[in-house]
């Protein structure tokens, strides 16, 4: 009923959890220093521990100070040194045990949510496994791109590399680190949402804050959006063009139902968990929540007339820089939230304890400079090798019909409307302001893609799809947190306000109609294995994992369209192939010719009967190994197996196919 694992996998899980617990305890003093008076520090310590322990080894590998795998424990060591100097903070065994127990339950639920669809195939899983496995076998950062041999990764990959750190620390393989990381992110996100909501609601009572925090946590990890409610529970009333509800429909609504020329995505955290992709926006969620908590801590100090400390400013800058590297959109999103918070601090009237506006502006400008410097320094080693692939910000050609926006987001409106109503009813303004800042930021994130978008490689019909996807992914969490917190002042007033608050709570609660698409009972936890889908090709992929490729050498396997089962060997092993999914490389390198030239070369490599041409391709990419498996035989009807086998000798031969080795001198004559 509660699930189980083979003994060796239990050991992996326990090592993983042990390191996490240690990192959390060691990072707690830092959390208390950054967010003083914001709870016991256990939750933010846990999130910070996950992030810092993951980031430090990346940093050391980016500076080529230590190899990535050898540096895996450096982050925890650094936290230990800091804790050694400053102490572990006030004793709070009860708090520690409570948070740890909550984390373990959530972790287990998150693991179940992942393992119910354990296979690491479909959607972006090959991409994410490619990043993760390439990082785990790399010595320096950026790792070699498993899908573009001879080049480093040119995407915001640092989140997956940080997961790689945890994999190295716990001594697990990338395919096992993947579900463990998904479970960790699930649990940390729930805890983070709880913390943020509870802190926002705290002025109206601790118990109420805990209840609303728990509610927000459940909504964040299991809740859908307004579409999930209306198109499941009230489907008969809705103008749908689809026969039945399918869980991605809530993220593919604008432009899809009904079908129009302007398609946009409105994903949210629970969908990300259901989809099971360890993609940038999901991996960066704990960081995003830490950044929000830090901004709110700074805002609360500001509302008391105290300006940010240098440590807070530097830490906030670090979250900005790390956000840029993990999920670049978070830089703008966190920045927007900070600007909103600073505007509120600046707008407060001068009075007892509140410095003059000029003094506040001076302090906040100093804090901004420190933060910007820290962000630049944090991101610099990433930017040193990263070539931006966006093509500028443009005004949108299409806007979402208002009714569709209401379908998606109306569930938060009743609760959010309580903020201005309560303000008009002379509720204390100061505790409401942080909730308002979170809510306004969420609304702005929904509004921005209605005005401008970041141009990428996609055509007009999907022009603003990515922009809306990344911004509204965060908006959904912020709006849910703000909406839950906004219930607190109403509930605390009692009387009719309790009824109003409970009524506003109903549409929020109804989004849990999405829960069946995300929740899985712990009994599904049986094995961490995510490679069973490979079938009889599994030995071939596992053999490829240990091929001794020298730097700049490549293997070649079938390439193909995105989200297919091509490019699986490189994706699952991190071994560099000539080209992976072509469209992805086009996007990441913003160079269509570079990607398709390679894809054409790979096609010719497998099908040409001209040895010279094949040799030219071997030399061009330093191809050392050739994969001839089921996928190659399926993709290349004209596969020249005779010509291929004449080029090298098999180093693996089995049920899944063959791997040939081409000696370096083969194509030199």
């Amino acid at each position: 009923m509660i699930g189980s694992l083979p003994p060796d996998q239990w050991a992996s899980v326990l090592r993983w959890l042990g390191w996490l617990a240690l990192a959390g305890v060691l990072a707690r003093p830092l959390a208390l220093r950054l967010m003083p008076g914001e709870g016991g520090g256990w939750i933010m310590g846990k999130l910070l521990g996950w992030l810092i322990a993951g980031w430090v080894p990346w940093c050391l590998a980016a500076f080529q100070i230590l190899p990535f795998d050898k540096a895996s424990q450096a982050g925890v060591l650094l936290l230990a040194l800091v804790a050694l100097r400053g102490g572990l903070g006030p004793r709070d065994l009860r708090g520690a045990l409570t948070v740890e127990a909550a984390f373990l339950v959530l972790f287990w639920l998150g693991l179940a949510a992942k393992l119910i669809h354990a296979d690491l195939t479909g959607l972006e899983k090959f991409t994410d496994m490619g990043f993760l496995s390439a990082a785990m076998r790399a010595e320096a950062m950026p790792p070699q791109d498993a899908w573009f041999a001879g080049h480093g990764l040119n995407y915001y990959y640092v989140g997956q590399a940080m997961v790689g750190t945890w994999g190295n620390m716990a001594g697990v393989t990338p395919d096992h680190a993947y579900p463990l990381a998904m479970a960790t992110i699930f649990a940390l996100t729930a805890l983070g949402a709880f913390h943020l909501t509870a802190r926002l609601a705290a002025p109206w009572g601790q118990k109420l804050a805990f209840v609303l925090g728990g509610f927000a946590a459940i909504l964040t990890v299991y809740g859908g959006n307004g579409h999930s409610v209306l198109y499941q529970l009230f489907r008969g009333w809705m103008p749908t063009t689809k026969a039945a509800f399918y869980y991605p429909d809530s993220t593919r609504f604008i432009g899809f139902d009904p079908d129009t020329l302007d398609k946009a995505f409105t994903e949210f955290f629970a969908y990300g968990i259901a989809a099971g992709d360890l993609h940038a926006h999901l991996v960066a969620t704990p960081l995003f929540l830490v950044a929000v908590a830090l901004v709110l801590a700074i805002l609360r100090r500001g509302l008391l007339g105290q300006m940010p400390t240098a440590t807070q400013s530097l830490a906030f800058g670090w979250t900005l820089g790390l956000g840029l590297m993990m999920n670049s959109w978070d830089l703008a999103i966190i920045g927007l939230l900070a600007v909103a918070a600073l505007a509120v601090v600046l707008s407060r009237p001068t009075g007892p304890g509140m410095p003059a506006v000029a003094a506040r502006a001076d302090s906040l400008a100093a804090a901004a400079i420190l933060a910007f410097s820290a962000a630049a320094l944090t991101a610099a080693p990433f930017l040193a090798s990263f070539r931006p692939f966006a093509n500028g910000v443009l005004p949108v050609a299409f806007r979402t019909p208002l009714w569709q926006l209401l379908v998606i987001y109306a569930h938060v409106l009743p609760a959010l409307l309580l903020i201005p109503v309560l303000a008009l009813r002379r509720a204390q303004a100061v505790p409401l302001l942080p909730i308002a800042v979170v809510a306004v930021t969420g609304v702005l994130l929904v509004a921005i893609p209605e005005v401008i978008f970041l141009k990428d490689i996609y055509g007009d019909d999907h022009a603003r799809a990515n922009t809306m996807f990344k911004l509204t992914f965060r908006a959904q969490s912020l709006l849910a947190i703000a909406a839950c917190a906004a219930l607190a002042p109403a509930l605390a007033r009692r009387g009719i306000w309790t009824g109003v608050a409970l009524a506003a709570m109903v549409p929020l609660g109804l989004t849990l109609s999405y829960l069946p698409h995300v929740y899985a009972p712990p009994s599904v936890i049986r094995n961490l294995d995510g490679l069973a889908f490979l079938g009889d090709e599994r030995p071939l992929v596992e053999a490829a994992r240990s091929l001794p490729l020298a730097p700049d050498e490549a293997l070649v396997e079938a390439t193909g369209k995105a989200f297919t089962d091509t490019s699986r060997v490189s994706a699952l092993t991190g071994q560099p192939a000539v080209i992976g999914w072509t469209g992805h490389q086009w996007l990441w390198r913003n160079d269509v010719a570079a990607a398709y030239d390679r894809a054409n070369d790979v096609d010719r490599f497998y099908t040409t009967t001209d040895r010279d041409e094949r040799c030219r391709i071997v030399r061009r990419y330093d191809i050392r190994y050739v994969v001839i498996g089921k996928i190659e035989r399926r993709e290349y009807v004209d596969l020249d197996e005779t010509g291929l086998t004449a080029l090298g000798s098999p180093v693996y031969s089995g049920s899944g196919g063959t791997i040939l080795r081409i000696a370096p001198e083969t194509c030199l004559e």
């Binding site: 001076d362 400008a365 100093a366 610099a380 080693p381 040193a384 160079d591």
Partner: protein
């Protein structure tokens, strides 16, 4: 912490470490051309040959590394003398940091001394020059030392005799390194003018100091007497080069971009932009008591800029003597902001600026720990080339081809068949820096085929396909490196980006010549446009 008396020594020690580490950055291959000339000339010196044949640097510049190396290695070995020259350069540069810090401290207090030590200690150009066995570091030290001595005299910390003696020695020795050092005489002269009507002691000191300066200069440069005509001929040639009368390949880059605005841009880039701004802040906020001491340095900088900023040859190294003035002023600016400006934001901005300056220097210093990209390219080439392969290289550059047969492409010629023949017979093409592609297309009268050649090459029309790019690794990589706007010697000597191309299609010479001579638009050959093509993913 800032009150600790150990901070200044620690900063100077750090400056020394940044300068001494990675001195053998080219693994003994002698990849800096100017340094190579100097070292070769120094190697030939000895008891049988006391006067050199080479006069682009004066005699002391050649003898110093030779004499310094005597106790340590074979002074007939170029490698020995190269390391000796670089070690001297690093030591001079470190000493200059200390002198600048003392100077700033004397002018504006301890805070200014610390800020100057940090700014100068981690200054990227100073660290780079410290790794070259040329005379820039020594010239910087001379300017700083002359200025410090002048200020000490103004403050009464040294007497007139000491001042005159020190000035004569410094100027004379400076001339022994580089003729242009004579302009530094303006530093004590301004102080003398500011002192008002000279007293008898001053006049007496002048009377013996001037001939002493000449004497020291002649002793440090015996070529003046023993090879007068050669020395004068070199000076005339060098003058022709800097004024643009003598066209040479290494000044082609300045064909349509030189002059005061260009040099100010270089100074801006060399100090990360921030240094120049901080120097302006220092100028505005300097305490009134410091003005008398600042004047000699400022006067020198203005005069030097007036003399050199109009030169056709706008090499970055010519800015070296201005750096002490900029860095001392920047240090004073930082200290004054912290002392006098109550705004936290201003302090944060200045602190961040100083940190940025330091970061550029640390990044450059770290890059010397990485293997030279020319060596990496050579290793890659020899690993992949077959016996008998031919490598085409570009003219006037330092490509290393590992002993493979090499053909130099006449890219600055007008004969397409000559270029095409070289290419058609080559298996590889090694582009060793931006020296040719960022310059030749801009001078179509001297290199009429360059634009067409590079466009065809980079579009893949000549049959060559890039197989690898090599750069000197550093923590912040291209982020902090001078871009195409930076004068080329800031990167081509020690941080070039190389591209190795393989001849895949093996076109014949006629086909290649036809493609090279195809019409090409000049705007497609701008350095930026070609850089974008080089940067395309393969």
């Amino acid at each position: 912490m800032l009150r600790s008396r150990w901070i200044l020594p620690v900063l100077i020690l750090a400056a020394l470490i940044l300068r001494l580490q990675g001195l053998n950055w080219d693994a003994g291959r002698g990849l800096h051309p100017d340094e190579g000339n100097l070292v070769r000339a120094a190697t030939s010196l000895g008891w049988g040959k006391l006067v050199p044949d080479f006069h682009a640097y004066n005699d002391l510049a050649l003898w110093l590394p030779k004499l310094a190396a005597l106790p340590f290695c074979d002074t007939t070995s170029e490698h020995c003398l190269r390391l000796s020259a670089r070690a001297l350069s690093a030591l001079f540069s470190t000493a200059a940091v200390g002198v600048m810090a003392l100077l700033a401290g004397r002018l504006a207090g301890r805070g200014a001394a610390l800020a100057t030590a940090l700014a100068a200690g981690a200054s990227a150009p100073l660290i780079q020059w410290a790794h070259f066995g040329t005379t820039e570091s020594a010239l910087i030290l001379l300017v700083a030392a002359l200025w410090l001595q002048t200020v000490r005299w103004q403050h009464g910390a040294t007497g007139t005799t000491g001042m005159a003696l020190g000035t004569a020695l410094l100027l004379g020795l400076g001339f022994g390194l580089k003729t242009s050092a004579l302009v530094m005489a303006v530093i004590p002269l301004i102080a003398l003018v500011l002192a008002g009507r000279p007293d008898a002691a001053c006049l007496r000191a002048l009377a013996w100091a001037v001939p002493l300066t000449v004497l020291v200069a002649v002793v440090a440069t015996p070529s003046l007497i023993f090879a007068t005509q050669d020395w004068l001929a070199t000076m005339r040639f060098e003058n022709g080069v800097v004024t643009g009368v003598n066209p040479v390949f290494w000044t082609r880059q300045f064909r349509d971009d030189f002059g005061p605005a260009y040099q100010l841009r270089q100074l801006w880039g060399g100090t990360g932009g921030v240094g120049l701004l901080l120097a302006l802040v220092g100028l505005v906020l300097a305490p009134r008591s410091a003005w008398r001491g600042l004047a000699p340095g400022l006067g020198f900088a203005i005069l030097y800029a007036g003399l050199t900023f109009g030169w056709h040859a706008a090499f970055f190294r010519y800015l070296a003597p201005v750096f002490p003035v900029v860095l001392v002023l920047a240090g004073i600016g930082v200290a004054q902001v912290f002392d006098r400006i109550p705004w936290q934001s201003a302090r944060a901005l200045v602190g961040a600026g100083l940190a940025f300056m330091a970061l550029t220097g640390l990044d450059l210093a770290a890059s010397y720990q990485a293997r030279d990209p020319r060596l990496l390219a050579e290793a890659d080439l020899t690993a992949h080339a077959r016996p008998g392969d031919v490598v085409a290289v570009e003219p006037h550059d330092t490509a290393l081809t590992g002993g493979l047969d090499t053909v130099v492409l006449p890219l600055d010629g007008a004969d397409p068949i000559a270029i095409a023949t070289g290419l058609a017979g080559a298996d590889w093409l090694l582009v060793a820096s931006r020296r040719n592609w960022a310059v030749l297309p801009r001078v179509p009268d001297e290199a009429p085929l360059a634009c067409g050649y590079y466009l065809a090459l980079l579009r893949g029309e000549l049959g060559f396909r890039p197989v690898a790019t090599f750069r000197r690794a550093s923590p912040f990589g291209a982020l902090l490196e001078p871009g195409l706007g930076g004068e080329e010697t800031r990167t081509v000597f020690d941080r070039p980006t190389l591209t190795l191309l393989r001849n895949e299609t093996r076109l014949d010479a006629v086909a290649i010549a036809t493609r090279i001579t195809a019409p090409a638009k000049a705007e497609e050959c701008s350095p930026q446009a070609l850089a974008a093509l080089w940067g395309r993913t393969r």
